[in-house]
């Protein structure tokens, strides 16, 4: 599904050059729910940006379903993103000028040959428990509702990979549980998910956990028995 081979990402800042991601290697198999834990500034979001093709690695190779996305043209990678990758951001990322249903349908504009349709959008809203608010504009939705709509939007083109960047970062505990259970259900239905977070409590929902520190993937804890809380022996991710 995903192969990451020796990728690095360097940024030049006013003060100095920063190596945000430093020689990271890992793989995600189809159907996995992978969590990447790390503190702010650890490089986990930069890694997600590169996995999605929105940020190009300085060095290294990223393969998605066998395709090396590191050197693809912008148009090709945009097409791949529209077809194969669903995105859920920390904030909802909904477009304020269109309704919840239209937001869900938005990615169909970029993937006209995909399975996305109004019917599928309605079904997805029902699936995430938002069918009653289909015609609501984002400004009238709660954070949890917006997140549900964003998840439905991420699934509209039936992507093989769902990328979630701190999807529960701005939610209360109850809503966080609801959203994580939704992700877990989606994973059980076959969607591959890669999620980054700083919250170690979320490892209970995933099949594999990685941890990033200062740009390096320092360890991984493979949860062979899925849905079991993954505990890193002697490690505290909030350090």
């Amino acid at each position: 599904m995903i192969e990451v081979i020796g990728i690095t990402k360097a940024f030049a800042t006013d003060c100095s050059d920063v190596l945000a991601v430093d020689n990271v290697n890992f793989a995600v198999k189809s159907g996995e729910f992978v969590l990447i834990l790390g503190r702010s500034g650890s490089g986990k979001s930069t890694l997600l940006g590169m996995l999605s093709g929105l940020t190009r690695p300085t060095t290294g190779t990223i393969r998605i379903n066998g395709t090396d996305i590191s050197n693809l043209s912008d148009d090709t990678i945009s097409e791949l993103r529209a077809k194969e990758i669903g995105f859920v951001f920390q904030f909802s990322g909904l477009i304020p000028t269109i309704t919840a249903l239209e937001n869900v349908m938005l990615p169909t504009l970029f993937c006209p040959d995909g399975p996305g349709s109004r019917t599928r959008a309605v079904d997805l809203l029902r699936k995430v428990g938002m069918s009653e608010r289909a015609d609501a504009y984002p400004c009238t939705l709660s954070s949890g509702e917006m997140k549900r709509v964003a998840i439905a939007r991420a699934l509209i083109n039936a992507p093989s990979l769902l990328i979630a960047d701190e999807p529960t970062g701005d939610l209360d505990v109850d809503t966080e549980i609801e959203i994580m259970e939704l992700f877990r259900d989606l994973n059980r239905e076959g969607t591959t998910i890669v999620m980054v977070t700083h919250n170690p409590d979320l490892v209970q929902y995933v099949t594999r956990t990685y941890r990033m520190t200062r740009g390096k993937m320092v360890m991984s804890d493979e949860s062979l028995s899925s849905r079991k809380r993954a505990v890193e022996p002697g490690a505290n991710v909030n350090d």
Binding site: S45, G49, S52, L54, D75, E79, F89, L109, S117, R153
Partner: protein, 403 residues
């Protein structure tokens, strides 16, 4: 698969509607540019077509007038301001004999007065000799049911009075038998009668009118000349001036130059205003576009994350600008058309130019070129911000928006 019913243009319209005040201001600025440009084109086209129609109606290549009444003659032709003048001597027969002259038709110009005791209205009477005329006779050929008999008149489009009704000039009653099409020129405010009726009118005026009218026998006000197809109107006009001293010749080109001179100042003002508005509008609209683009960085980044290509984002932003430009252009053109048509006579009198509503084709071409300019302004002002917004790294923008 059901076809998705969220479309590109729906997204464009929603984005425009989301910033109503700023977009209304932009539309207003573009409407001013469009109205100014369209007005300039309308006036030039309207004057040109008016001249063409008027000259075509006259059917003459050269108008020979007394040298000292050259300006008045031009005013009669262009604006129809009532004037009375005559040659000191009749050169009509001499003009007919000049090489290159195919036809010559004498005309007598009499300006009527206002007041119930004299005339129904102040108009220009153009008295013709039916045996030599080719102005009214051409119209009569197009309208076979009409004849210009004793005391009959054919009136210009602006003359009040129905066909079949009577008009009083210098106490003499004339009967309206026909009405000419609108030309926008002096003919619209003129009435055509026979020369012998004009003489009778003058003879009776001492008794019937407050002011006596004198038309010297054997003297005419102007001679219309049709030139042989093989001859040059310029050469024939020159020969007429040489052989008959004290005459001035007016040609369609000369009239056009006179009108162009009058139009020139107006069009320079209009084009100058348009250039000034455009020069201010492009950077202003560019600044507004840049502001909007800056505000929408995260929205654009999200679209990119969802699979939009860079070109899609540029087209989206350009389509918004084009839509605003087209809307502003249409409002400007529509407003200009309403004002120009509603106040056409006032504009014609104020600017002292002949004016008719240009043909639908001219209006279409003027409208399209105006819209094109508006679209170009919209495109130029938003292209750079649209390209600039695409240069930023989407994921960085999204992350910055979260913090």
């Amino acid at each position: 698969m059901t076809k998705p019913d969220l479309h590109f243009f729906e997204l464009v319209l929603r984005n425009i509607a989301n910033r109503p005040y700023r977009n209304i201001a932009t539309i207003f600025a573009i409407a001013i540019i469009a109205a100014t440009l369209f007005s300039a084109q309308y006036l030039i086209g309207g004057a040109q077509e008016s001249l063409d129609a008027g000259i075509s109606r006259m059917g003459a290549d050269i108008l020979v007038v007394p040298e000292e009444y050259n300006k008045q003659a031009e005013t009669i032709i262009l604006m129809g301001e009532p004037t009375t003048f005559f040659f000191k001597d009749s050169g009509f027969e001499q003009i007919s004999r000049i090489p290159g002259v195919a036809k010559a038709s004498p005309q007598i110009y009499v300006g009527t007065l206002s007041g119930q005791a004299c005339c129904s209205a102040p108009v220009q009477i153009i008295a013709i000799d039916p045996s030599h005329d080719f102005t009214v006779s051409a119209w009569l050929k197009e309208n076979p049911g009409v004849t210009l008999g004793k005391n009959d008149i054919i009136v210009g489009s602006q003359i009040l009075g129905d066909i079949g009704s009577d008009l009083l000039f210098y106490g003499h009653t004339f009967h309206i038998v026909g009405r000419l099409d609108r030309t926008g020129m002096g003919i619209d405010c003129s009435v055509f009668s026979r020369i012998e009726d004009a003489y009778v009118m003058a003879d009776e005026s001492g008794i019937k009118a407050v002011q006596k009218l004198t038309i010297p026998k054997g003297r005419v006000s102007a001679v219309l000349v049709k030139v042989d197809p093989a001859a040059s109107p310029v050469a024939v006009a020159s020969e007429i001036r040489r052989q008959i001293p004290g005459t001035k010749t007016i040609t369609p080109n000369g009239l056009l130059n006179a009108v162009s001179g009058q139009l020139g100042a107006v069009t320079r003002l209009l084009y100058g205003s348009m250039l000034a508005v455009t020069a201010i509008a492009i950077p202003l609209l560019g600044f507004i576009s840049a502001m909007v683009a800056h505000e929408r960085r995260r929205e654009v980044a999200i679209l990119r994350a969802l699979g939009a290509t860079k070109s899609y984002v540029i087209w989206l932003m350009l389509a918004e600008s084009f839509s605003i430009a087209v809307l502003g252009g249409l409002i400007g053109i529509g407003t200009a058309v309403v004002i120009l048509m509603g106040f056409q006579d006032f504009i014609s009198l104020s600017l002292k130019i002949p004016l008719i509503v240009p043909s639908p084709m001219t209006l279409l071409v003027d409208g399209c070129s105006t819209l094109f300019l508006c679209i170009a302004i919209g495109g130029i002002s938003s292209l750079y911000p649209a390209m600039l917004i695409n240069r930023s790294e989407p994921y960085e923008t999204i992350r910055k928006g979260e913090s």
